[in-house]
C-alpha cells in the first residue's frame, strides 16, 4: 500500500512535469502546483504508516539491465526522507503557484515546472532505491534537474554558479560511483541488500566509506566541499533554493548514513570521528561565512553549510556509538542528527521562501536595499522571524530541540565514550556553541536589516504583502517549526524509531510532555511547559505596565529617530556589513581579511586624496586554494583533452570500440 501510494506520487510528479511543458504558461503553473501538492500528500500518506509501524516495504521491478534490478525499499529511513521531502514539497507547491506567476511570467514557467517536478521525483526515487545502479541514475538525475534550476536565471552569476555546481556534483557522483563499483567488485551485485550482508576487509571498507563520504559530502555541502553551495542555491529561483537547501543537500547526508551505517555498518570508530570532526568544522565555518554576506540568499545558503555540520555531528556520534558498541549512544546520535535534518529542512525552506517573498517585492537580493518590511509585509516577517528563531535554536522551537539533543549526545559521548571522544566531544560542543551564538548574530542581522528600521530603497518602501498562496506555503512550514518544537514529546519517539532502526537499539526519549536523552537523570526538557510558562510569564510585565497605564500619557508613535540632534538619515541605520564587522575583525584569520589602509597620511599634501578604501576585505581561502586550482585544473585538463576531439567521425567510432572492450574486460574480470 505505501509503495503504491509512493508510485502514484512519483507518477503525479512526472505527469505534472510533462504536462507543464505541454500546457500554456498559466495552466503549467497550476498543474505543477496541483500535481506537486497531491504528490506531496501522497508521499506523506506513503511514509507515515511505515514510520509508525517501522516495517520496511520492498519491491523489485525488472529493469532493462540484467545486472541491476530496480528494487525499491521503503524502510524507516527512506520513509523519513520521503516525509521530509513531501512536507516541503507541499509548501513549495502552494508557494510556487503564486510565486512563479509573479516572478517568472513569460520566462519559461513550463520548463521550470518540468524541472521542479522531476527534481522532486528523482529525490523520492533516490531515497527509496535499493540498488546502487538505480541509485546513481536517480542521483544523477537529481543533479541534472537541479543544475537546470540553478542556471534558470541565465545571467552570468547563475551560469558561473551552475558551472561550479556541475563540476563538483559530478566529481562527487564520480566518487560515489567508484565506491559502489568497489562494492560491486567485491559482491558482484549492485543490490544494496547484498552490500549489507557483505563482509569486507577493513581497509576496503574504509576506502569505500571515504569515497562515499567525500562524494556525498560534496553533495551535502560539507566544508571544504561547500564552495558550490553558496553560489548555486542563491542563483536558483527561491522556491527551488528552498528545495535545494531543504532536501537535496540532505540527500548527501542520507547517502552518508546509507553507506556508512546502513550498508557498511559503521565498522570503525574513526569514520564517526571523521564525520563528527567535519561536522563540527562545517558548523562553525558555515556560520562565520554567512555572517559576512550581504546577499540574503547566500547568507541562508551558508547557513545550510552550518546546519549540515550540526546534522553530521549527530550522525558522527551515532556512527561512533555503533562502532564502539554503544547502541544507546548510537541511537541518540543518529536520532539527534535525523531530528535536526528534518528541522533544518523545515526552517531552511521557510527562510528561503520568506527570502523569495521579500525579493519578489524589493527586486534585490541585497539586504542593504531592503528594510522597513516589518510594517509592509507583516505576515512574511512573522514567518521569517519564526524560521530565524528556529534556526538560532531559540526555545521552544524545533531547532532548539534537535540542537539540545545534539548537545546531549555529545555530553553522553563525553561522559561514557573512549578517551579520544572524551576530548573531542566537549570541543565539538564548544564549536556547536560558537556556531549557535554566531547564528543568533547572523539572523539578528538578517532579520533586522531586512525587516526592521526604515526602508532603504524605493522598491522596499513600496513593498506590499505577498499573496495568500505564498503566505500559506510559508505558514505551513512555520507551523511545522512550532509543532516539531513544542510537540517534541510526540515527534521524538517517531524519529527515535528511525534512528533505532539504524542504530539497533531503542532508547527512551519522551514521556509525558518531557523529552530526555534516554535517561531523565542526564537531563530533561519540556518544550510544552516552556511554551506555557513563557506565555504566562510575559503576563508579568504586562501586568506591571498595565497597572500604571492610567497614569501615563498615551504613547507617541512615529517620533523622529534620535541622531544626536542631527537630522536622521537612512545611512545612519546599521548596515548588514557593519553589523557583522566585529566578527570579521575578531575572526580575521578565518576570513583571510586584509586591511586596506593605504595612503592615509600621504594624503595631506595633495589635499583630499585617497584614504583607506575599507576596513577589511574578505578573501576566503577556499576560493583561493580550492576552487581556483580546481577550476584551472579542469580547464587545463580540458585543453589537454582537446587532442581527442579530432573532428573525424572515425576517431569517435574508435573511442566507442575501445570503450566496449574496456567494459567487456571489466564484466569478465
Amino acid at each position: 500500500m505505501p509503495l503504491s501510494l509512493l508510485a502514484l506520487s512519483v507518477a503525479l510528479y512526472v505527469g505534472g512535469a510533462v504536462a507543464s511543458v505541454v500546457l500554456p504558461e498559466r495552466g503549467a503553473s497550476w498543474t505543477v502546483a496541483i500535481t506537486g501538492g497531491f504528490g506531496a500528500l501522497l508521499g506523506i500518506a506513503a511514509s507515515v504508516p511505515v514510520l509508525i509501524d517501522g516495517h520496511a516495504v520492498t519491491a523489485a521491478i525488472a529493469g532493462p539491465f540484467p545486472f541491476a534490478h530496480f528494487s525499491v525499499r521503503l524502510d524507516a529511513l527512506a520513509a523519513f526522507m520521503v516525509l521530509t521531502i513531501s512536507l516541503l514539497a507541499a509548501a513549495i507547491a502552494v508557494f510556487g503557484a503564486a510565486y512563479v506567476e509573479e516572478e517568472y511570467a513569460g520566462r519559461g514557467i513550463g520548463a521550470m515546472g518540468f524541472f521542479m517536478n522531476l527534481f522532486i521525483a528523482s529525490m523520492m526515487l533516490v531515497v527509496v532505491s535499493d540498488d546502487a545502479m538505480w541509485f546513481i541514475v536517480f542521483f544523477e538525475m537529481m543533479s541534472l534537474t537541479s543544475y537546470f534550476l540553478v542556471v534558470f536565471e541565465q545571467d552570468d552569476e547563475a551560469i558561473s554558479a551552475g558551472w561550479i555546481y556541475f563540476l563538483i556534483a559530478h566529481a562527487g557522483t564520480m566518487l560515489v560511483l567508484i565506491a559502489f563499483l568497489l562494492l560491486f567488485a567485491r559482491t558482484g551485485s549492485f543490490d544494496f541488500a547484498t552490500f549489507r550482508s557483505a563482509t569486507l576487509p577493513a581497509p576496503v571498507a574504509s576506502v569505500i566509506f571515504v569515497l562515499a563520504f567525500v562524494g556525498f559530502g560534496a553533495k551535502a555541502g560539507m566544508i571544504p566541499l561547500h564552495i558550490w553551495l553558496p553560489r548555486a542555491h542563491p542563483a536558483a529561483p527561491s522556491h527551488a533554493s528552498a528545495l535545494l537547501s531543504g532536501v537535496m543537500i540532505k540527500i548527501g547526508v542520507f547517502g552518508i548514513v546509507k553507506v556508512g551505517v546502513d550498508l557498511l555498518g559503521a565498522a570503525t570508530v574513526w569514520w564517526g570521528v571523521a564525520v563528527l570532526g567535519f561536522g563540527a568544522i562545517s558548523s562553525v565555518l558555515g556560520v562565520i561565512y554567512a555572517l559576512a554576506e550581504h546577499d540574503i540568499k547566500r547568507l541562508l545558503a551558508y547557513h545550510s553549510v552550518e546546519n549540515i555540520g550540526i546534522i553530521l555531528i549527530g550522525v558522527g556520534i551515532g556512527m561512533i556509538g555503533i562502532a564502539a558498541g554503544q547502541p544507546a549512544l548510537a541511537t541518540l546520535g543518529l536520532f539527534a542528527g535525523l531530528y535536526h535534518l528534518l528541522n533544518h529542512a523545515v526552517f531552511k525552506s521557510l527562510l528561503f521562501l520568506g527570502a523569495g517573498a521579500v525579493i519578489s517585492r524589493t527586486h534585490s537580493k541585497d539586504m542593504g536595499r531592503m528594510g522597513g518590511l516589518l510594517h509592509l509585509m507583516p505576515w512574511t516577517a512573522l514567518a521569517f522571524l519564526i524560521g530565524a528563531l528556529a534556526i538560532c535554536a531559540v526555545p521552544p522551537l524545533n531547532g532548539f530541540v534537535s540542537e539540545w539533543f545534539t548537545y546531549q549526545s555529545l555530553f553522553i559521548a563525553a561522559l561514557h565514550g573512549s578517551s579520544l571522544l572524551r576530548l573531542v566531544a566537549p570541543l565539538s560542543a564548544v564549536m556547536l556553541g560558537i556556531a549557535s551564538a554566531l547564528a543568533v548574530m547572523c539572523f539578528v542581522k538578517a532579520f533586522g536589516v531586512t525587516f526592521s528600521g526604515e526602508p532603504r530603497s524605493e522598491p522596499a518602501a513600496a513593498a506590499t504583502e505577498v499573496g495568500w498562496p505564498m503566505l500559506i506555503g510559508m505558514g505551513w512550514l512555520a507551523a511545522c517549526c512550532v509543532m516539531f518544537g513544542i510537540g517534541a514529546p510526540i515527534v521524538a519517539p517517531v524519529i527515535r524509531d528511525v534512528a533505532a532502526s539504524l542504530g539497533g537499539h531503542g532508547i527512551e526519549v519522551a514521556n509525558n510532555f518531557v523529552v530526555f536523552p534516554g535517561d531523565t537523570g542526564i537531563g530533561e526538557l519540556s518544550t510544552p511547559l516552556m511554551a506555557v510558562l513563557l506565555i504566562g510569564l510575559a503576563g508579568v510585565p504586562l501586568v506591571i505596565t498595565g497597572l500604571f497605564a492610567g497614569r501615563r500619557p498615551k504613547p507617541r508613535i512615529g517620533a523622529e529617530v534620535w541622531a544626536c540632534g542631527y537630522a536622521p538619515d537612512a545611512r545612519m541605520s546599521v548596515s548588514a556589513g557593519g553589523f557583522a564587522e566585529p566578527i570579521k575583525v575578531l575572526f580575521r584569520p578565518l576570513y583571510g581579511v586584509r586591511s586596506w589602509a593605504d595612503g592615509c597620511f600621504a594624503a595631506t599634501r595633495p589635499w583630499f586624496a585617497t584614504i583607506p578604501a575599507s576596513a577589511g576585505r574578505t578573501e576566503q581561502y577556499w576560493d583561493r586554494w580550492l576552487l581556483a586550482p580546481l577550476g584551472r585544473g579542469v580547464q587545463a585538463l580540458g585543453e589537454q583533452m582537446q587532442f581527442l576531439q579530432g573532428g573525424d567521425f572515425r576517431i569517435y567510432c574508435l573511442y566507442i570500440v575501445a570503450a566496449l572492450i574496456v567494459l567487456l574486460a571489466v564484466a569478465i574480470g
Binding site: 498615551k554 507617541r556 534620535w562 540632534g565
Partner: protein, 260 residues
Amino acid sequence: MNAAQPVTATASPESEREQATRLKRTLLHDIRRSVYVFRIDSGGCNACDIEIFAALTPVFDVERFGIKVVPSPRHADVILCTGAMTRAMRLPALRAFDAAPDPKIVIAYGACGCTGGIFHDLYCVWGGIDKIIPVDVYIPGCPPTPAATIYGFALGLGLLDQKLKATHHVEAEGEQVTVTHPRIPYGLRIALEREARRMAGYRQGREIVENFFILMEQDDGAPIRERIADFLARENDPRLAEIVHRLEEICARGNGGTDQ
C-alpha cells in the same frame, strides 16, 4: 510638531494648556526623588557645562537626590539647557525637546540660557532658551555654581522656596544720598581711592581704603602713623603694608593733592 499629540492633536489651545498643567503637576510629583536629566548645550561657552559636571561629581553629588544625567533624550524628565540658543542649535534643541517623553520640565541654565546673557542681541543667537522652547525654571549665574544648580533643581522640583522675587522700588519723598566720610577732604579722598584701586584693584582697593579712612577718622588720641602701624602689625601682610604706605605718602604730600 507632534510632541504631546494627545494634547495638541484635538484639543483647543485653552484646554491644551490646562491639560499640560495637570500633566506637569503629576510629573513633578512623580519625579520628586528620581530625575533624569538630558543636557542640551545650545551654544554656551562651556563654563556652565563644567559647573554641571561639578554638580555631578563627588563634592556636590546630585545623585544623592536621584538626579542623573542620561545619554538619550528619550529617558529624560528634565531638559537642562545652557547657552544662548545659537541659530545652529535651534534644530538640534527642538529635536531633543521633541524626542523627550511628555510632559517634561525645561530648565534654562546660566545667564545665556535665561536671557542670552552677554550675547543676548547678537545676529547668530536667538537670545535665550525660552525663545525656542518653553522654560519652566531659570537658573541665573555666569556660570551658576554647583550649589546654585542644586538650589535650582530643588526649586524646580518644589523642594525649596524661591528666594528671588521681582522687586520694584519707587523713590520715596525726600530720599537723599549722603556723602560718606564727610570728615575727609574730598580731594584727598578721591586721590586715595584712586591709588588704592591702582594698587589693589577695585574691590580689595576699596576695602583697604575704607579701612584707611576709618583709621583716619578714628580719634583715639594716638597719631595716625601709630594707628596705621598697629593696623599693619595686626594684619601682618607685606603687600598690604606696601599699599597702605603708598596711601600714607599721598596723605603726607598734602591734603588737597589732586596731582596724578
